[in-house]
Symmetry: C2
């Protein structure tokens, strides 16, 4: 298994990326291709005692900044670490890729180099949200900004279901359509049209779900338009941050409360580990002709290591082949229905 890793992507790159790559080669049966500025990477690598049989450096002269426009990045930076990593995947020199860099640029570049899966209209960015029981996969969270039709929501449902089953190990993932009420009659014009499409798809569709179902453990896959999904992941981050900030503020006003919190700290640390994104290894880009995982911009070495592991699972479980097969089945079923009507 060979994973191409964008060594230059992420707020703390290349340091934490190199460290995470070394950790991954130590823990898993994985070879890493570190893509980026060779001398910088060599220097960072020298700080660890890497097994050089499992780590190779692939040269890429350019770096895409976190806030850089994707269209500019595609046009002007043909030799960026992201583009070189995507080409390794395209040419079968790598089996999967990982970047903790600019998500929009990663999507645009890998989409232009790798292309889309057969029969698919819209790739999506999925994210793994910790819930009260384990995790929920939410998609799309930003590949498409508010212009998704019902047929695209169906594609997201199919992709999310395959990923939840094959990579997250859920046996019959419950797929919900995000709406403003549980009844089939509740929703926007687009979700109302999407409902019967999802109901007829070969998935365990549980109907409309609401915002709270993303985090309460009742649903494994939640499907929504990319504008809504993107807003939601930032609401979730914001609410969690605000709760801890306000709680810390009140606790710090009293010595007794501070002492109490100190006693509870091991429990709170376990809770924080439970909701720590770095445990979950990043967001899959679904619908591309290749296995791509995008890490959080603030990824630390552990997050990078986990993203590399998840990328290898994305590849080894044939996620993309399963998605293409399911899309094909839906198309065939539709054609049969149409023929029956004629």
């Amino acid at each position: 298994m060979r994973i191409a890793v964008d060594a230059m992507g992420g707020d703390y790159a290349p340091d934490v990326v190199v460290e995470g790559a070394v950790l991954a080669t130590q823990e898993y049966d994985i070879n890493v291709l570190l893509v980026g500025q060779k001398e910088v990477i060599e220097e960072k690598l020298s700080k660890y005692s890497p097994n050089r049989d499992k780590i190779e450096i692939i040269s890429a002269s350019q770096v895409i900044a976190m806030a850089e426009s994707p269209t500019e990045a595609i046009r002007k930076k043909k030799d960026s670490s992201l583009a070189v990593a995507a080409r390794l995947l395209k040419n079968n020199e790598a089996d999967a890729m990982v970047s903790a860099g600019n998500t929009a640029a990663a999507l645009a570049i890998s989409r232009s180099i790798l292309g889309k899966l057969k029969g698919l209209a819209r790739p999506a960015i999925a994210t793994i949200v910790p819930n009260a029981v384990d995790v929920t996969i939410l998609l799309d969270v930003g590949a498409n900004a508010g212009n998704c039709g019902p047929e695209h929501l169906l594609e997201f449902a199919v992709m999310g279901e395959v990923y939840a089953r094959n990579v997250l190990g859920k046996s019959a993932p419950r797929v919900g359509l995000l709406s403003v009420g549980e009844e089939q009659s509740k929703g926007s014009a687009i979700t109302l049209e999407a409902f019967p499409l999802l109901k007829n798809a070969p998935i365990n569709f549980v109907g409309n779900v609401e915002g709270r179902d993303i985090v309460n453990g009742t649903t494994d896959v939640v499907v929504c338009d990319g504008f809504v999904g993107n807003v939601i992941i930032k609401v979730i981050e914001g609410v969690a941050d605000t709760i801890f900030q306000l709680m810390r503020f009140e606790v710090n006003k009293s010595r007794l409360a501070q002492f109490g919190f100190l006693l509870a700290m091991p429990a709170i640390r376990k809770f924080k580990k439970r909701v720590d994104y770095s445990e979950y290894g990043g967001a899959p880009l679904l619908g591309l002709n290749g296995a791509c995982i995008i890490g959080h911009g603030k990824s630390n070495a552990k997050a990078i290591k986990n993203a590399i592991r998840v990328a290898s699972e994305f590849f080894s479980h044939n996620v993309n082949a399963h998605i293409e097969q399911n899309l094909e089945n839906i198309k065939l079923k539709q054609e049969t229905l149409n023929n029956d009507i004629v």
Copy 2:
């Protein structure tokens, strides 16, 4: 000041509604018209020592259930407590109204009885979200499910700004347009079109904001489509519930952590009060020809009392007259611009 209160609306009605009404008449210079089934209300009232000079019972024979369809409720229940309360408002027998009942029915009924403000296309439901500093008003959270155009987002901005200034006491409320990035170029087709409209409006427009800005205290008014807003308020509730549930789970595994939490409890209680919806008195329905406040379905007596206070402020600060004036100003400015172009 006379406030019509739907005594039959809410999960714990009429008990908590009657109690909340008594509390309001004791604490504020407010008269309450309790609307609903006379004998039931009389019996509940007898449990307190109400000042009957300030509480009147207005008879309404029908009750609308929490999950009842609004169209059914309008058609079949002309004598519901909600409809009777709205007619009191319409006939100037009450100055404002409060219901903790079925939100969709309350909106539909008060809209059909009171009508919309002059020059306004779309009423909205606003909600008050506690943030890291004080509160943010988010609208629309469900009056319109996903079919809002740019001109409706402008109306929401104007209404939210007037409410934040006059009722929440913010001097130059910062109004943000909810989107997927801060840059003007980021957003859906509709938010991209709404941006210049909000920029030219007589409000303190701070540009695009993201999901986290609803809770981190950087924005006073956040404007979005009703589908998005409705999903968000349920995400916020769900995330807060899940965090406390997971934290309690970890803490309960250790005696020491339980003891620590006990010591920190007064601080945690202060924090909980800070984020308790019952302190904020419910959601204003904006854009109707009358001052209507909808309480949370799970309102307790304190929440009802606060909703009655907020309804009186909604009326006494002339929110609706200010909204009509601002809409008129925008229209005049637009006409001047058009004439200049011609």
